[in-house]
């Protein structure tokens, strides 16, 4: 631990990674709670995979046309928002389409387009693995500003409309009857989800995003009675997971994203089995009293 802390003080790439983990953790806790409560994890998965198209296209334009300003994260934001709007509109108004089919289509087409762009991008290419599995150690100072901006946007909008978003997630029909513009807030929820996914992709990569969005929230759900409690707890858990994931992977020279997710999985199963044990204990104690 001491060695890691010394390195953290000296190495700017580690500092960037550490700060990214904290920033992404806050957005993850807030939006992950909405996503799990509304049970739209599959939509988040679809959005996450589709943004490979944007990452690939932006990287292609950077190398082939020399558009240096077109950061791959911009491409990711664009394709994630597009995917969110397509899925959202289909689930709101597309009575003739099956929602899950459309999610699957967005999921797969986005990945395919991304792979084509990456294949056609000249030069030695290790982008693909870092997109798929994340590479938090590659976050530059510029990236960090972009991540901080996205984080502030997602968290502030997500909290500003807390009551409306919660009502839409809990009981859409009742919210509509109270004059809440359900369609607007549902699309807003999906767009914020898209931006959160972009944030998390830098931490753990496209494939592992779902785990980071759901596992900390699931752990928090064992202790929280209210949505905002779940958000705070899930944020704290995610920040801790990201920090310890970074520490363990640095120590053992392992990929950070995968290490973080394994850690999240371990914590999740400990809490699930632990709470079952506690319940059983309480139950047997209760029956002794009888």
């Amino acid at each position: 631990m001491g060695e890691f802390l010394t390195a953290l003080q000296q190495q700017s790439f580690l500092q960037h990674a550490f700060l990214t983990g904290i920033l992404a953790g806050i957005a993850c806790g807030v939006m992950g709670s909405y996503i799990v409560a509304r049970r739209i994890t599959y939509i988040a998965g679809g959005i996450a995979h589709s943004l490979l198209a944007g990452l690939g296209a932006a990287r292609y334009c950077q190398t082939v046309y020399g558009w240096e300003w077109l950061h791959p994260l911009y491409g990711a934001i664009a394709s994630a928002l597009l995917a969110a709007l397509v899925i959202g509109m289909v689930s709101l108004w597309g009575t003739k389409q099956r929602e899950d089919t459309v999610i699957g289509a967005v999921w797969a087409i986005g990945m395919a387009v991304g792979i084509l762009f990456i294949f056609k991008t000249p030069g030695y290419n290790k982008d693909l693995t870092s997109y798929l599995f994340g590479n938090i150690l590659m976050v530059s100072a510029d990236d960090l500003w972009l991540i901080a901006g996205l984080d502030i946007l997602v968290v502030s909008v997500g909290l500003m409309f807390y009551n409306q978003l919660m009502a839409v997630c809990f009981d859409e029909e009742f919210a509509r009857l109270r004059g809440v513009r359900v369609e607007f807030y549902y699309l807003l929820l999906l767009c914020l989800t898209a931006l959160t996914v972009v944030l998390l992709v830098t931490v753990v990569g496209i494939i592992l995003v779902i785990a980071l969005l759901t596992l900390p929230v699931a752990v928090a759900g064992h202790f929280a009675k209210r949505l905002w409690q779940m958000m705070i707890l899930a944020s704290v858990i995610t920040i801790l997971l990201n920090s310890f994931g970074l520490f363990f992977s640095y120590d053992a020279d392992l990929p950070t994203g995968a290490t973080t997710i394994v850690l999240a999985g371990v914590v999740y199963f400990i809490v699930v089995f632990g709470s079952r044990l506690v319940k059983r204990k309480r139950w047997s104690k209760g029956s002794e009293k009888d």
Binding site: A37, M160, N163, Q164, F174, L177, R178, K225, L227, Q229
Partner: protein, 252 residues
């Protein structure tokens, strides 16, 4: 000026996917009425309720609530859905659920104020659930959840209260309590309630609307076994609940 009816439905017809659900329905509900909508499953009860709420539009005919279109009259209606449609694992406490009823009262963003909280607590007090206001909604029994949803409807300060199957999945003691509560509320507001459970309700309600594609309205004193037979299209037996025999059981 003649007193305007609370709900006026004229010649209303509605079909779903080409299948006729409601056919030339006429119905008038006056102020302070306690109308019970009964009928077999898929007979159009819930559809009729959704028409009143403006969630569905009639194919032909008209429906007016307080002399307005249902959409415009929404802020005067309180609605209680079946609690089984709500996610039992949703992280929300009782007070949060009731506060959702205050969303229409001008909250744009941010958090609810003192006034909203006070209104929510008053509503919880009316359904006698103040002591569980900070409990998780998931921990409550079916009957308690129903009452929370009644409180959520009350906090909107409605003149018309619409309830969908408020007694499904609750035992007969809870059912009695719920109807006594509604009976009290009926002094200040009009109530329309959908149920498939007829026999027990009739003690409290003033009128019964039998829905099976068409609508026939009866005052409660008229109800007879013959009428129920006609509605359900087969011979059913009435179970009397007014005497409590040992080992009594409820019919479905």
């Amino acid at each position: 000026m003649a007193i305007q009816p609370v709900i006026q439905i004229k010649n209303l017809t509605f079909a779903y996917n080409g299948l006729s659900v409601l056919n030339r329905v006429n119905l008038t509900v006056e102020e302070r009425d306690f109308l019970c909508v009964v009928g077999p499953n898929a007979g159009g009860k819930t559809t009729l309720l959704k028409m009143m709420l403006g969630l569905l539009k009639p194919d032909s005919g008209s429906i007016q609530v307080f002399g307005l279109s249902p959409l415009k009259a929404r802020n005067r209606m309180g609605y209680m859905p079946q609690h089984v449609v709500l996610d039992p694992l949703f992280p929300v406490c009782v007070l949060d659920v009731v506060l959702m009823g205050r969303l229409g009262k001008g909250l744009r963003f941010g958090f609810f104020g003192k006034e909203d909280r006070k209104a929510a607590e008053e509503a919880l007090d009316r359904v006698d659930l103040m002591e569980v206001k900070n409990r998780s909604f998931a921990e409550l029994s079916g009957g308690q959840r129903q009452r929370v949803l009644v409180a959520r409807a009350l906090v909107t300060e409605p003149d018309l209260l619409l309830l969908d199957e408020p007694t499904s999945n609750v035992d007969s003691v809870v059912e009695t309590e719920l109807y006594e509560l509604l009976n009290q509320l009926n002094k200040n507001m009009t109530i329309v309630l959908v149920t498939h459970d007829l026999g027990f309700v009739s003690r409290y309600v003033k009128r019964v609307a039998c829905v099976n594609r068409s609508v026939v309205v009866h005052t409660t004193s008229e109800i007879s076994g013959e009428m129920i037979n006609e509605l359900y299209g087969c011979d059913v037996r009435m179970v009397r609940h007014d005497t409590r025999a040992p080992g009594e059981h409820r019919h479905g």
